[in-house]
């Protein structure tokens, strides 16, 4: 068994039993990075101090000192989440060289539990994209076929996890940015309920939709990471005061078999779904039926408004959120004769095409005279979408939908067609609009490429979702 086949729990256990050293774990991951990163381009930067930190963990253990529960476990972090003292670039030219002045809350919590940050991962610039092709560091490549995209925008995190360059990773998900790359790379990826995980220190793309979440090779690791990073944060007013359970303990101790009521919204299983993906997913549905789960077709009638509403809201918020990258206080600057000219030069030179497109569209939909027609309408549609889901969750435990309509596409295939690219998110944006938790579960392969299914749960039902996924992992995938 290779080191990277162990779970976080197992590695921590071996470490405390002194059957493995933290340095061995970190060296192993660093060597995989050394071997694979130049080809797959998962990391933007690698933490030079990781090995040093591992040494300190080993010293503590050898001195018989108490160590935090997950000391020495290497985690990758998407490059839009601040780690104090390390560069945060958001894969943008404009932030190259920017050193974060503080830890994101999720990072601080992981640090307190002993995790080591092995590096910062590649992404679409400012998380705007579905393939990680819109990175100023070049695209990340799919470990299952390097000619294909990794999905996005947390492509680097998914690739790092799928190819064994990190034990697990943090991503961020605004419209599918954790689930889509997890699906394309064949790993688990969870977008938690909005407000479950603090956004403090996550460079905002669309504040009302963004959530940080874990990407991992197994359900246990997802559960552990979620337990660590969840919870109310005094620095983020949008976090929930809902108590956080130990998800790992929960799935470990609740292994009874439940008969779930599962809804399949017809809007998600219609023509847009490719044959290859459908085949794999239907096979999985067959397994669920064999387990006597109640599976029924339902309707979420306002689904058709999800993509337009999502892009209007996301771009509107983005246009405001990205205003701070003006060349005044940090990041890079192109001089000009006036303040205005300096801003124009800086943003003109250092923002990528997709970022400019979204900032411009977002500025437009918020403009006087258009606000009511676009932004306000999108917010109304959002309410309708929320109500659709509320109705369903009165009768069902989960909604199951494809994560992606297609298999991972070829690099360059959609890069010149924004609308086609935006439709990659067709199945993933609704949970963000509704604030619901959603998890990608890898359920098979087609032509050697991974296929994932999306499990959407009710608000703050991550424990039950993980229990379901754990069951699937043990009984179906594994």
């Amino acid at each position: 068994m290779k080191l990277e086949d162990f779970s976080i729990f197992e590695l921590s256990y071996l470490l405390k039993k002194r059957q493995i050293r933290a340095v061995e774990i970190v060296e192993r991951y660093l060597s995989i990075i050394e071997e694979k990163n130049s080809k797959l381009n998962a990391f933007i930067s690698v933490n030079e101090r990781a090995l040093e930190e591992a040494k300190r963990v080993d010293e503590s253990i050898s001195r018989g000192e108490a160590i935090p529960p997950y000391a020495g476990i290497p985690i990758a972090v998407k490059d839009n989440i601040n780690i104090k003292g390390m560069e945060t670039t958001c894969a943008s030219e404009i932030l190259k060289g920017y050193i974060a002045t503080y830890d994101a809350t999720a990072v601080r919590k992981l640090r307190e539990k002993g995790f080591i940050f092995i590096g910062k991962t590649n992404m679409d610039e400012f998380a705007m994209g579905s393939s990680t092709e819109f990175s100023s560091f070049g695209p990340s490549r799919n470990p299952h076929d390097p000619e294909r995209v990794a999905g996005g925008s947390s492509g680097g995190s998914a690739v790092a996890v799928a190819s064994g360059m990190a034990q697990a990773a943090l991503g961020s998900d605004t419209g599918g940015s954790i689930r889509l790359p997890a699906s394309f790379c064949g790993v688990y990826g969870l977008k938690p309920t909005y407000g479950r995980v603090s956004r403090y220190g996550l460079v905002a793309y669309a504040s009302s939709l963004d959530q940080i979440g874990p990407i991992a090779r197994n359900v246990e690791d997802i559960a552990i990471l979620l337990s660590v990073i969840s919870g109310w944060d005094e620095n983020d007013s949008t976090t929930s005061t809902m108590p956080v359970s130990d998800f790992f303990e929960y799935i470990f101790e609740n292994r009874d078999r439940e008969t779930y009521r599962i809804a399949l919204p017809e809007e998600y299983w219609g023509e847009g779904l490719s044959i290859e993906v459908r085949k794999v997913l239907e096979e999985f549905l067959g397994f669920l039926k064999m387990n006597l789960f109640k599976i029924e077709k339902v309707s979420l009638p306002h689904t058709k408004y999800a993509i337009p509403s999502y892009y209007i809201i996301a771009m509107a918020e983005a246009s405001s959120n990205l205003g701070r990258f003006d060349g005044v206080r940090y990041g890079r600057r192109v001089e000009g004769r006036t303040f205005r000219e300096m801003i124009e030069n800086t943003r003109g030179e250092f923002f990528g095409e997709e970022v400019k497109r979204r900032v411009l569209l977002g500025t437009f939909v918020l403009s006087a005279g258009y606000y009511e027609d676009y932004y306000l309408k999108a917010q109304k549609a959002r309410t309708l979408i929320i109500n659709d889901f509320k109705n369903i969750f009165r009768e069902y435990d989960f909604v199951l939908a494809p994560t992606s309509p297609t298999l991972p596409f070829r690099i360059g295939e959609k890069i010149d067609d924004p609308l086609k690219m935006y439709l990659s998110d067709i199945y993933t944006v609704s949970p963000n609009l509704a604030g619901l938790p959603a998890l990608n579960i890898p359920v098979g392969f087609s032509n050697g490429l991974p296929v994932g299914i999306q499990l959407i749960g009710n608000y703050f039902s991550e424990n039950r979702m993980l229990k379901f996924a754990y069951f699937v992992e043990k009984e179906y995938s594994g």
């Binding site: 839009n80 989440i81 601040n82 945060t88 958001c90 932030l95 920017y98 974060a100 002045t101 503080y102 994101a104 956004r199 403090y200 220190g201 996550l202 460079v203 905002a204 669309a206 504040s207 009302s208 005094e234 620095n235 983020d236 007013s237 949008t238 509107a316 918020e317 246009s319 405001s320 205003g323 701070r324 990258f325 003006d326 005044v328 206080r329 940090y330 303040f339 205005r340 801003i343 500025t363 918020l366 403009s367 006087a368 606000y371 932004y375």
Partner: protein
Amino acid sequence: MMDVVIGLEVHVQLKTKSKIFCSCPADYTKDIPPNTHICEVCTGQPGSLPVFNKKVLEYGVLLSLATESRISKLIRFERKNYFYPDLPKSYQISQYRAPLSYGGFIELKSGKRIRLQRIHMEEDAGKLVHVAGETFIDFNRAGVPLLEIVTEPDISSPDEAVEFLTLLRETVRYLGISDGDMEEGSLRCDANISLKPEGEDRLGTKVEIKNINSFKFVKRALEFEIKRQTEVLKSGGRVIQETRLFNEAKGTTESMRTKEEAHDYRYFPDPDLVPIEISQELIDRVSEDLVELPLQKYWRFRKEYGLNDERASILKSDYYMAEFFERTVKFVGNPEKVANWMTVEITGILRNVGKELKETPLTPENFSSLLKLLFEGKISRPAAKSVLKRALEIGEDPIQLIENEGLLQSRGDLSPLIEEILRSHADQVKDYCNGRKKIISFFIGQAMKITRGKADPVELKKIFEEKLKDACKGLD
């Protein structure tokens, strides 16, 4: 004749301990080194998020109650988007569609009510500092809480504008929520002004004036603008809708940007902050901090103590002074005399030394004792004045001063002194008897010199007149 129509937008900086969306100290005064009261939130570092300081809400509710504004049940913050170097996030967190309160008013002495359109909360920006041809930014002020008070266009003269602002300043000071100092920037005012033919309902084209940094300039800027617009209209021209900057040095306004160049701020609800419900409990709790307001006090002082307009106005202008006055009157009565001493003598001395009453050792208690001695004729008026002056200037206890210097005068003892003076100045006595009555002040001066100011000159004059009458008789 033209009607003048003025509406004001006033920014009041709140003196909370910390900033509105982070825990940095809200103190940004000159002695704080630049960029020391800052953090990732108020400098707009990537990924930082605002957290609302509830104290700001309490202060806002208090001013809303004091102006009888209707307080919204549910409020939210919105982002006002524009680029400027002192604006760290390139948006200001403000309120737009769901402000804190609306529909209040401030009443002028004339009884006219200046209606308030709205009161809302927002954050201040940083400050540009120009040094030797270079521009720097100090973010200490970024995130300091502000209340914006917007009036309806109810003000019809520069004097009314000044009265409104004075009352607003006094109100925020009474409530203890702001220093209300225009020169220091803790009270800032933009004015919208237009002219229309007398009696016409339709408003004329308005011009916004910015950069008015003192009460004096409010009047001057508005007066200039009325003159300018009147001339434009008289010569058959049209006033254009624009923003103009007041030039302090020239006393004029200058065009800054026209309507076409106006910003589109693209307001939208700030997704980083959750809507806030304002409960009746909060309102009830805050309303306990309400005090009698400046104009209420003014009218009560006029009615209850029979004070004239000027004295009542001066006394109500400062909460501490008004309280001081009332307590003093409680001890010694004589409200008019007390008011006179306070509004003339004390105010005059304080203005000279640049101090505030509460910074001096003068208390209603020791001031009352002083006045009592004066009213009972135990010390002279000049002695009382000089004691007051030294108490306020140097900070000595006035009663202690009187005791130390033996300033208490005893009536009966004056005659021998006066006789002695007259005896030793026989020539001057002759002059007096020959008709140079004015020379009496020479004798009084001599007596004051000898008694070191203890004697009451009025008393002295009376005695001198009697004694001199006798002396002249003797010369006949």
